[in-house]
Amino acid sequence: MSDELKPIIEALIFASPDPLAPKTLFRLLDSEPQEDVAQAVAALRADYEAHGGLQMVEVAGGYQICTRPELHEWVRKLFHEHSKQRLSVQALETLAVVAYKQPITGAEISEIRGVNTSGVIGTLLERQLVKVVGRKQVVGRPFLYATTREFLNRFGLSDLEDLPKVEEMAEALGMEVPSSLAAGPSTEPLPFDDDVLDDGAGDAGAVVDDDDARRRR
C-alpha cells in the first residue's frame, strides 16, 4: 500500500509551492487511511536520508524537498550570487522577542529591548517575517504582532515549538539562570517558560487562524 502511495506523495511534495502540510496531504489523498499516508511519508523520508543530493525537511508545518546544505557552495555557483540577504542584529533580536512573546505590541518589544523598535518592525513587516494579528484591547488599541509562516520557513523551523529552548540558550550563554530569577516574584512572565510560550502561540493561533491552532494540539 505504502509503496503505491510513496511516488504520489513524493510528486506532491516536490511540486508544492510551499512546504506541504500533512493536513493538505491527507485531504488530497482522502481515499486512503491517514495512517497509511503517514507511514508512506515516513518511508519516503527514510529513503531521502539515504539518498543523494536532495533531502526532505519538515519546515513551516510541512514537508519540502530541497538540496542538502553541504552542497550549498556548488548550487551557489549555479546562481553566481551570494546567499540571501542576511538580517541585521537589530532585526534578529526583535524577531526573537516577537517569536517568544507573541502576540506582542510594538511598545512591549521596545520595552524589552530597551530601544525604540518601530523602524525594525517596519522592515520585518515588509519582509513578511512578522504580521499584524490584531489589536490589543488597551488604550490606544496598539497593533499586536506575531511571526509568520515565512518566518518559520526562513529559519528552517517546523513550528513555533521548534524554537530554541531555554536550556540551549543558557548553554549558548555559558551561564546559569538562578532559580530566584527564573521563578522569581516577577509579575512579568519570563519569556522562555514553555507554558508562556505555548499560551502565547495558542492564543495567537486562536485569534488569526483556528485551523492552525488546532493542528498544534
Binding site: P69, L92, A99, K131, G184
Partner: protein, 284 residues
C-alpha cells in the same frame, strides 16, 4: 574531488560570523552588558556606583564623538542614578515603600539584563538556523508554472498591513491611470495643423515622433495625429519610411494648386476615403 573554495565557511563559524559589534551598541542594555563583562563583575551583584560611573563616562564619550545619542540611553542613565540613590538609603526607602519592594533595588534591572541577554542568545541561535536553511535550495519558483501546467500565481500569507498596502497600491494605480478623452474642443485639428506647419516652416523635415513631443495626454496626441493625416491629404507634407519599422520622416512640401480643399470646409464634407488614403501612405 576538489571542492569550491568557500566550502564550510558558512557553517563552522556561525557564531564568529554573527555580526555583533560591541562598539555599536544597539541600546543601553547592550552597553550595560558590555560594561559588566568588561569589569568582570557579577551580574547578580552589580557594583552600581562603578557601573553608573562608567556608563555616564561612556555617554560623555558618545557626546564628544557627536554620536547620535538616543533618548533610550538617557533614560537608562536616569534609572541607574535612581538605583544608586536607593542603594545609598536603603532603610528609608524600604519604610517609605512599605513591603512593596523589599528586594534589592537592582533586581528589576538585573531581570531586564538577563532577559535581554537571553534574546541576544536566541537571536544568535536563530541566525545559526537561518544559515543552515539558506543553504537548502528549494525548487525554483520558475519551475512551478511548468509543474502546475498553467500560469502559476503565488498566494501570500496576508495580514492587516498587507491588506492596507494592497488598498494603497490600488488607489495609487487608480490615480495614475490615464483618463480617456476624445480630442477636446480646446485645440481644433485646424489649429494644430497651423501650428505644425509653422514648426515645419523653418526645418523642412523632422521625425514623425517629434511632431508629438509637445502633446500632453491622449486627447492631444489624437488631435495631432488627425492633423497629420489631414496635412497628408492636403499634400502639405510627405511622409517616408526607410524600412519596415524604421524611423518615419516628415517633409514639408508646398501646397500644389490641385490640392483638395481643407478639412472642415463647409462647402465640402470630409470625404470618406480621407483616413484610408492618408493611412496607406503612412503605413509601412
Amino acid at each position: 574531488m576538489s571542492e569550491p573554495q568557500h566550502h564550510g565557511s558558512d557553517f563552522e563559524s556561525v557564531l564568529e560570523e554573527y555580526p555583533v559589534k560591541l562598539e555599536n551598541f544597539e541600546g543601553p542594555l547592550d552597553l550595560l552588558l558590555h560594561l559588566i563583562r568588561k569589569h568582570e563583575v557579577d551580574i547578580y551583584d552589580i557594583p552600581i556606583a562603578l557601573i553608573t560611573h562608567q556608563y555616564l563616562d561612556y555617554l560623555d564619550v558618545m557626546k564628544e564623538l557627536d554620536l547620535d545619542l538616543a533618548g533610550d540611553f538617557l533614560v537608562m542613565a536616569a534609572t541607574l542614578i535612581h538605583i544608586k540613590a536607593r542603594m545609598l538609603v536603603p532603610r528609608l526607602e524600604e519604610e517609605a515603600e512599605e513591603s512593596h519592594d523589599p528586594e534589592d533595588p537592582r533586581e528589576a534591572l538585573v531581570r531586564r539584563l538577563i532577559e535581554h541577554q537571553r534574546y541576544k542568545a536566541a537571536a544568535e541561535l536563530l541566525h545559526e538556523r537561518e544559515t543552515v536553511r539558506s543553504a537548502q535550495w528549494g525548487l525554483p519558483e520558475e519551475r512551478l508554472g511548468d509543474l502546475a501546467g498553467e500560469p502559476f500565481e503565488r498566494e501570500l500569507e496576508v495580514d492587516l498591513f498587507g491588506l492596507l498596502q494592497a488598498f494603497q497600491s490600488v488607489l495609487k494605480r487608480a490615480r495614475e491611470r490615464p483618463t480617456f478623452r476624445l480630442p477636446s474642443a480646446e485645440v481644433s485639428i485646424e489649429t494644430r495643423t497651423r501650428e505644425l506647419l509653422q514648426r515645419l516652416e523653418n526645418i523642412d523635415a523632422c521625425g514623425f515622433e517629434d511632431l508629438f513631443d509637445k502633446d500632453r495626454g491622449r486627447g492631444e496626441l489624437v488631435t495631432t495625429f488627425l492633423a497629420v493625416l489631414e496635412m497628408i491629404r492636403l499634400n502639405l507634407i510627405r511622409v517616408f519610411q526607410s524600412a519596415s519599422f524604421g524611423p518615419i520622416r516628415v517633409y514639408r512640401c508646398d501646397r500644389p494648386d490641385d490640392a483638395p480643399p481643407p478639412f472642415g470646409d463647409p462647402a465640402h464634407e470630409a470625404p470618406d476615403d480621407m483616413v484610408g488614403a492618408a493611412g496607406a501612405e503612412t503605413d509601412d
